[in-house]
């Protein structure tokens, strides 16, 4: 009698676990995929903005010209609303070449940093490493 009771309880416990497990699996499978984290979104947005800017050589040209205002304005247009950023440009010897801040004031708890190698189309062919830091403004 005692043994049977124990077995039933064990069976009950396993059934409960099975129900919880299957419910969790079903809810995860059918729930809409959420953005796993903001980091991915930020780095993708930043990279896409730089790729877009570099596609016709504009990025390299603006750096060649040291036109930080135009570069900042272009990024402001290309990045999503609600994203703050800070851009630093290094030459091929890794010396920082932007002497003024390029950005709209980086603020936010989670900051993502991406690096983009860039070549200018000028006859001298300068190479730059563009470091873009991004955060969601709160």
């Amino acid at each position: 009698m005692f043994n049977k009771k124990g077995q039933i309880r064990m069976l009950e416990a396993f059934l409960a676990v099975l129900v919880i497990f299957s419910t969790s699996i079903i809810s995860i499978t059918f729930s809409p995929s959420r953005n796993f984290n903001d980091e991915k979104l930020l780095s993708t947005s930043g990279m896409q903005a730089l790729i877009e800017l570099d596609s016709d050589g504009t990025l390299g040209r603006l750096v060649d010209e040291r036109n930080w205002t135009a570069l900042s304005e272009s990024l402001k247009i290309l990045l999503p609303v609600g994203v703050s950023y800070n851009l630093t440009v290094y030459d091929d010897a890794m010396y920082q070449i932007n002497n003024s801040t390029v950005g709209n004031g980086l603020r936010g708890q989670k900051v993502v940093s991406i690096e983009y190698p860039c070549a200018s189309q000028s006859t001298e062919c300068y190479f730059y490493l563009v470091r873009l830091q991004l955060a969601f403004t709160e």
Partner: protein
């Protein structure tokens, strides 16, 4: 008897708690792995796009340099610098970018400069790239070619007027990689005896830009020699220089 019932409930709760802990840990690990995989794929593809764009800019810049008087060696030097530069710039692993420049005719050291007298002028550069991205658990091997060509096609006609005066019409087409392209700067010359001269306002010189890479130029000048020879020199918007000479046909 009472004691036994209690232990059964504790057992039940314990089993549930342990199962939940196991489940949540498993789900967390699964989700994290999925996100890392996606992130890695994105970083790969974005970095590859950046490298392809950069490689193209290097080829364009080198061709601009060579077409304006630089040596062909500049092309190889710039590509070596670019390979070395990107080699240490991949954040998630190792990046190896190798290149070969085209040596098959009409290319020499990857450069094709042909500024002919038959109305066709070509400035081109060609390089093949092999990219290897070595990451933890994922390797990418990619081959791509960059072919940059600026082509100028010109044809001219002339009509004899009083004395040695001639009305000359020249049409030129500028192409980048076979597609119509705009010129940054365009100069026309005509040959009179042994001198190349530029037509000016005194020659009623007019240029019509059709906006699709086609330019029509017209002028009137005293030209002793016949038939009329013209030369068009163009700098495209990528700073690549090309020129072509042609002998005009009389109409």
């Amino acid at each position: 008897m009472r004691k036994k019932s209690c232990s059964g409930q504790v057992l039940l709760v314990g089993v549930l708690v342990i199962a939940l802990l196991l489940l949540s840990t498993e789900l967390y690990v699964y989700d994290l792995g999925k996100a890392l995989d996606e992130g890695k794929q994105n970083s790969f593809s974005d970095f590859i796009l950046a490298l392809e764009a950069g490689s193209e800019h290097v080829v364009v810049g080198s061709l601009a340099n060579v077409s304006q008087g630089g040596t062909n060696q500049i092309f190889r030097n710039n590509l070596e610098r670019w390979s070395s530069f990107v080699g240490s710039r991949y954040q998630f692993g190792k990046c190896i970018l190798n290149f070969t420049i085209r040596e098959i005719s009409p290319y020499s050291s990857g450069i094709w400069i042909s500024w002919g007298t038959n109305g066709l002028g070509v400035s081109g550069a060609y390089a093949n790239f092999t990219l290897q991205l070595l990451d933890r658990g994922a390797d990418v091997d990619l081959k791509y070619a960059i072919n940059i060509t600026t082509t100028l096609l010109i044809q001219g006609t002339y009509k004899g007027m009083q004395g040695s005066s001639k009305q000359v019409n020249v049409t030129c087409n500028l192409l980048n990689e076979g597609n119509p392209a705009l010129a940054e700067n365009l100069m026309l010359y005509y040959k009179n005896l042994d001198d190349w001269l530029t037509p000016g306002p005194q020659n009623n010189y007019t240029v019509i830009d059709y906006g699709n890479g086609t330019y029509f130029m017209s002028f009137v000048a005293d030209i002793s020699s016949s038939p009329v020879e013209v030369s068009v020199h163009v700098l495209d918007q990528r700073q690549i220089y090309v020129q072509a000479n042609a002998t005009c046909t009389e109409i």
